[in-house]
Amino acid sequence: MNGAYNTKLELDMISRTRAQVVGRKELTGDNLFLIWGYPTAFVLFLEFATLMLWNKDWCEWLWVGIPLVGAPLMIHFLRKDYHRTGHRTLEANIALQMWIFIGFISCLGGFTLGFTGIFPLCYCTFQGLLISIGCFVTGVILRFRPKIYCGVIGAVLSFAPLFFQGDLWPWQVFVTSIVSVVSLIIPGHLFKQYVKHYNEL
């Protein structure tokens, strides 16, 4: 009788530890969307304002400001989160790697715009889609529906800049700042509330 009893105890211990780890999984990264959302919306709005006022080539360099502000803040908050919870989940790691990739592409795009001074017609649509798809995929990974919906709405809105051509082109930047509000700031606040509620349970 003892053999089966001991094996059963060991199997129980494995299940209990696994359940304990899953149950203790604190949701983290609640500030990430806000860290990226506010600088993106602010910088894009600033660029729109400068384009409307002066319409000079140097205004394109403002795009670089987004990763320059967002990346250090993200690293700081991620370290703080890890120190507090002591662990990182597989899902959070996938989402993080994806956003690092998106940030890198945005940074590269910003530098290209700054150096060439040429503003491609589809650039705002591309940026908006990048952010919205990132929001959508994060929602799917974390099983958080508002992010999925906001990602879809943001992706649809990303095509709006294509309607502003000719002299109206600075409005493309304004629409992209609205996309960043829809795809980053709104889901960021909703996720923050959700995390607060989830971790209190």
């Binding site: 094996t7 059963k8 211990m13 530890t17 780890v21 002591g86 662990h87 990182r88 597989l90």
Partner: protein, 111 residues
Amino acid sequence: MNPIKLIHIDPMLHNAVRLKIMVALDSLESANFMYLCEITDAARGNVSIQLKTLQEAGYIEISRSGSGPIAQTVCRITQLGIKALHEYEKELHKLFSKEVSDEETNLSVAG
């Protein structure tokens, strides 16, 4: 019970603290030392020794990040560790079903 069957049980994982550490790391991307102490409910010295043993066996990777008061020991499970843990679980399940069937046979013979 056939004692030859026990040979398949990995001695590295046949320890409560080491097994708990492996199961916790299997469910996460990484975890720090303090988190593992909490999960295993064991003393820091004990956890430290078991982590070193698992690292020497190649089941986990240990890295140190940061410096000063924010320095921390970060542990990750390796592919070898994942394979060993899953095989260990499989062997335990097999052993359990065998032991149960043996006991049922013994009971029916005694009855």
